[in-house]
Assembly symmetry: C2
Homo-oligomer: 199 residues x 2
Amino acid sequence: MTGSMARTAGSHSDITGPRVAQAALRLFAQHGYAAVSMRQIAAEVGVQAGALYNYTPDKQSLLFDLMRGHMDELLAARAALPLPAGPLARLEDFTRFHIRFHLERPDAVFVSYMELRNLTPANFAVIEGLRRRYEDELEAILRAGVAAGICAVTDTKITTLAVIAMLTGVTTWYRAAGRLSVPQVETIYWDMVRRAVAA
Amino acid sequence: MTGSMARTAGSHSDITGPRVAQAALRLFAQHGYAAVSMRQIAAEVGVQAGALYNYTPDKQSLLFDLMRGHMDELLAARAALPLPAGPLARLEDFTRFHIRFHLERPDAVFVSYMELRNLTPANFAVIEGLRRRYEDELEAILRAGVAAGICAVTDTKITTLAVIAMLTGVTTWYRAAGRLSVPQVETIYWDMVRRAVAA
DNA sequence: GTCTATAAGTAGATAGAC
DNA sequence: GTCTATCTACTTATAGAC
């Protein structure tokens, strides 16, 4: 107990860091990156503005780290799941995963889709690369479905983007306090996706 | 000729006004409302910052007028079209109209979807009311389709939002210089919408 | 690690000359 | 109708005390 408890008063590196990221995420989602000042973030954490620079070199890095963290988590969560056999089962699995994952972190989703304009070109390229990797998995599923004669899709790339746009749109209206559970929402969307692409 | 040409040098109210709106729209779409300064807008128009206030009382009105103008145009364009007979024909008409209209004004679409957070609560309510009226037309079509046994949709409200999200997503990837024409894109999306909701 | 103080620059909006 | 000049407030980021 003594080791970890012995700490200079006012020194909270291990808890302040995550709190800075959390506050930035919430405020960026609510007001937008450009509309939020470092002072607002500091006030939300309960420190002075200067103290933030112990945790981020600048405001841009704060945004980029949030977005990269979100995309890394997305790809890692997807890679951690076992792959069902057959294109249709994989498509259902992808659909349900996408909705579930996105509904669990609405702020991160919102920031990652809305603040791409505010990334530097280099940071933008990194995020786009990660997003592309995610989209490629869905496109591969659709292509396998077409090859197996299970899916009737003329343009797998456009269909990929259309399906993802439809699924991500769920974050704009879903409320946990509403009448539908997440699995019920998954089923409604899976029903539409299946009919839209099945042969 | 004399009447309309007789004008004080440096006085261009009738052409500067539209140019201010145009410049604001382009800059808001590219960088975001909060990231754009009145001085940037003025520079794009070719005047000094103070001159902008001959055309807008403040920056917020500039944003609100752009968004309200876009929604008014959307509803007016929709209302101006003849209604095809039958739910399925109306659904196809709505689908093609939505894609065509949105691809014709990508900046206005982008601003209207991304800058809702930056509206004052009163202005937000107005825009949401207009958007709701547009969504209601699609929901009415789906309900009529269900009543006629042509559509198989369990939740018309969710399906409405899902379809609109999918269709609007076209603006994120479509480029006029690409391989597909707008009518071809319309056909691809209509194929997906039809299969997703048809009985 | 956090504070206060500050540098250096920009924001929205207004006043008054022309 | 547009300009220049300006007011007041706020911005990101840093320096140095503790």
